[in-house]
């Protein structure tokens, strides 16, 4: 049965590979609101540079361990076009805690709560955390499942290469610059 579906889908999509490797697939487009009410539109962000999506949850230890690395990437490459978006997959039991939690970890990139699980399903998240790096052209550059301490370095290499390849000039204004930011870290930066 499965084979039938795979073959059928491959047959009809003659203008695209039958099974596109996930690392080269087109990132599903979405628009969502972050926890401060700002609109996060993937297309708009991609026009500025690469986008890094981090699917995380407050109860997930490896996710919390990964967040300082992502914050570092946001601080280092944010002005060079990178946008980091944290997508919390917490259920309603933890919705009220997501924003304070991110503030406690000194996270200043936008956090979106995936209320209806739509984003998690769109990106086929099967492990926590899952980090998806998207090229400015909209292709998925890499997907990382899980996190172990030290993996931020290789992710940074991927980001740096992508930014170098994109040729995005420094000081590209982030759509989130000057907006509400709760982290003391960002106040320090400003």
């Amino acid at each position: 049965m499965l084979l039938t579906v795979i073959l059928a889908a491959g047959f009809v999509s003659d203008s695209a590979p039958a099974a596109v490797s996930i690392s080269r697939a087109t990132a599903p487009r979405f628009t969502a609101k972050d926890v401060t009410g700002r609109t996060v539109d993937l297309d708009t962000l991609l026009a500025r540079g690469p986008v890094l999506l981090d699917f995380w949850a407050t109860w997930c230890k490896p996710c919390v361990e990964a967040m300082p690395d992502l914050q570092r990437l946001h601080a280092t490459y944010g002005e060079r076009g990178l946008t980091v978006i944290g997508i919390s997959v917490d259920g309603p039991r933890n919705h009220a805690k997501v924003r304070p939690f991110a503030t406690r970890l000194r996270i200043s990139y936008p956090i979106v709560i995936d209320h209806d699980e739509r984003l998690r399903h769109l990106y086929q998240v099967v492990a926590m955390p899952t980090v998806v790096l998207i090229e400015p052209g909209g292709r998925i550059s890499s997907v990382r499942l899980g996190y172990r301490p030290g993996e931020g370095s290789s992710l940074e290499l991927d980001v740096a290469m992508l930014i170098a390849k994109s040729g995005i000039p420094d000081s590209s204004a982030s759509p989130f610059d000057g907006e509400i930011i709760d982290s003391p870290l960002d106040r320090d930066r400003r």
Binding site: V5, V12, S13, P28, P92, A96, A127
Partner: protein, 505 residues
Amino acid sequence: MILALVLVPASAHAQLSGSNLLEGQAGNYPSSYVERGPSNRLDLYDQANLFYAFGSGVAGLRYEINRNSEDAFPYEGITQRFLDWSDGRYRVRVGNFYGILGRGLVQRAFELNSVVLDMRYPRSRFGPSRDIDGVLSEASFGPVSATLMSGAPNGGESSLAGEEVGFARHSGHLTGAQIAGSVTRHARAGAAYVRMKAGQGQMELGSGFVEIDPLGVLGITSVSLPLYAEYAQADRSFAEWWRFDAFDRVPHALYASSNLLWGPFTLSAEWKDYSQFRLGVNDPPSLVREHSQVLLNRSTHVLEANREEGFQLESSYTPSEWASVTTNWSRADGAFGDRFEERFVELRSAPRGAERWEATAFYDRGWDELIAIADRRTAGIASTVRAWQVWSGTLDVQRQIARRSTLTQTQRFEDLYLSGTIARANFGSASVVWTRTTDPLDLSRVDPGNTPLHLVGGVLDARLTANHGATLFFGRRRGGLACTAGTCYEVQAFEGVELRLVSRF
């Protein structure tokens, strides 16, 4: 569905992708000696998800299969399928879908991602999902958004094998709608309605909610004070609903939450009042902290939505990147004067974004009269040290002492948890987990009594390629409650070897 996939027009953007979760076990449940069966039972569970994206649409299906060496209640089949179409303003999904109305007081359809549960009868394994099989439609017009849903809800407690013995996965009918509008980006209000038919009975639910950050509305950005309140009633007319009755005789759910974010200080406050609101296919938020610490996670309080009121206060103070302190105080009072209460404090230090090391220490004290736990104290410390950029070691030690008091006896028991992990970035990790318990009611116990029970297990985890990961468990795993993504479920004790492969393609 298959036809739909085949008939979908080819386009330059069409692509097929998917994920797969394969879990094989050789072993048994140590506790259930009555149902134990062969000592090395083999079990294989696989869940494949396929997605075919084309233009503005996505078609997908989930295929689940479970086989075992006893050849008892094997199953295979398509457990979900959908066709989803959306543009900037509209979305229509036919087939299995997930969704939430308000904060989920009256309806929330969800799944427990990557969780595989054991169904005791008929004994089988499955991925728990509370999806709805029907139609979902969403639309937004500027600041106004609307949702309509209709279909058969899934209780989430049965595998496909259950249907062979009369447990229908999707049963009854649910129709729901929500309309919400934003005045500014800091203020939103809405209302939801649900009509639910399960078995012989029918229930109508109405809910209204408001979300506002008054300081944001005033243009103040240095401090945030977002507030959320939702009030729902069952089987009441609109005029009655509008009176906001919160008496016990009125089936209702009242939930309110607030955050205060002021520089390094944060506070989250939640309050609940639930009466006769156990809906069968939905539970309102429990307002009990979901701990990541193993011994606390399994000691959680299970919500009794038929009658429960309480609150949860959580604060944190992060004076510098070197340290933060988090406190939590949760309380829930039940119908018979039974009280759950928990006080938790955690200190965390992660200098320079945990570049070299990080450490946490916690202490928790609580009791839960609903399950006769008169006193429970838990403490622990965990630390991760990084070396040579790619190596890290983690040590996690926890101890819990508890007293269970019933009319006839008092039991004192102790739980110890110790785990050590060595990990190499981009490669994998190896862990050893040791648990010792004297709890006479522990699910992992084969023989009655309170002699110390030792459970030792090892976990090897490897990133095989960029899109494939493997986890091998061997030894004994403790049974009992576990919570993931805000939902608690019972895990069966296990003794043996388990291999899990996760893939994306």
